[in-house]
Amino acid sequence: MKRFEYFEPQTLAEVVDLLGQYNGKANILAGGTDLLVEIKEHLRSPDYVINIKKIPDLDHLVIDANIGLRFGALVTMREIETHLLVQSLYPDLIDAAQQVGSIQIRNRATVAGNICRASPSADTLPPLIANGASVRLAGRRGERDVLMEAFFTGPGKTVREVDEVLTEIIVPAPAANSGRMYIKHGRRKAMELATVGVSVVLDLDDDICQRAVIVLGAVAPTPIRAREAEAVLTGQRLTDEVIVRAAETAMNESRPISDVRSSAAYRREMVRVQTARAIRGAYQRSGQA
């Protein structure tokens, strides 16, 4: 591996200082399952690596049906995946977390790292965005919260400044009578990157869809809301006709590229197929189906 200097700061302030001091030449090491791969593959070559795992209070997870979910930057995919209350309140987050890489990866990988790496196909992004999540950033100018929907600006790019570290992820409480699902489409059942990701959150009342959120992953430079597809569902009973129309609309809102994993045409078709499935699945989970 390319040589780097290594720091193990004990406070958040030290991390911010180091990031500011080294101004882009330092990378944060949390789980390491993206950073170390990129260093080995010569995609990144930081001169300085800052291990944040000794910082206190970054591994908390607080969850309540009325307040929502808050968890720190060091919470791993595996911790999320195995948490009974997260399974019950945010099954879509579980759908996503448990399909990232392998158990070995998930024991190290953090959700915060998945967010900051900002791959267009990252699995935890669509369900977090669909649930209205925000991230908390700490930098030299203090703390700020950014809605995840506004966090991503391009493949691998976010609004995080070079001196900022993501400290916490904040997810609002799920509405009563809501259902949520994330579907990952890939060539393999495990150890795979999504070729298409679809997240659906439905708020229902008396069997009518009051609010729908549809977030597509891997079919645009960032995760995107399929707002026209959402409008097809809003205020409607979720009949087959409505669901099929919403799925077609989502397909037309997607902007996939062809790459080594899949063609654009196939991705578009899978948006159509998986959006319908995710809507039906979210509806089933709402208990109203």
Partner: protein, 165 residues
């Protein structure tokens, strides 16, 4: 600049001077002299380097050795039970033909051992899910799966009982 780390490997304390950019995999195989753990892809895709770190299965290629300071690591060399006999997983892998070239085997054994430590009676689906991070080119997985199923019938070995033989 090298730092001295203190790591318990298979119950033995090792003090090793390592550069921060050395992976745990390279240090296990190099400085610690334990070549049972294999380097397949070195980027966390194949699972051949699976070890148990503080009770959890991880890819050693994606852990810096320096991150394991103060930790407990179990490698395939540590699967031998306290009376010197093979772990039931090892016995069944051998008996049921789950080893061909053997390169993926240490990683599979550690992934399976971690699975059984957490869940001594996994369902078929749980076994498949539990070893999904380990790739095998030779066996087609059927005999691996059978061996793990057979091993679940034997007594589970807890981490506290391992010794290196």
């Amino acid at each position: 600049m090298k730092r001295v780390i203190s790591v318990s490997i298979n119950g033995d304390l090792h003090e090793l001077a390592v550069e921060p950019f050395r992976s745990l995999l390279d240090v296990l195989r190099g400085e610690a002299g334990l070549t049972g753990t294999k380097k397949g892809c070195d980027v966390g895709d194949c699972g051949a380097c699976t070890v148990i770190l503080d009770g959890k299965p991880v890819n050693a290629c994606l852990v810096l050795a320096i991150e394991a300071d103060g930790s407990e690591v179990t490698t395939v060399e540590g699967l031998v039970t306290s009376d010197g006999s093979l772990d039931p997983l090892q016995e069944n892998f051998l008996k049921l033909g789950a080893v061909q070239c053997g390169f993926c085997t240490p990683g599979l054994l550690m992934a399976a051992r971690a699975l059984l430590n957490e869940n001594p009676n996994p369902t078929e689906a749980e076994i498949r899910f539990g070893i999904a991070g380990n790739i095998c080119r030779c066996t087609g997985y059927t005999k691996v799966f059978n061996a793990i199923m057979a091993a679940t019938k034997a007594t589970a070995v807890t981490e506290g009982e391992v010794s290196n033989g």
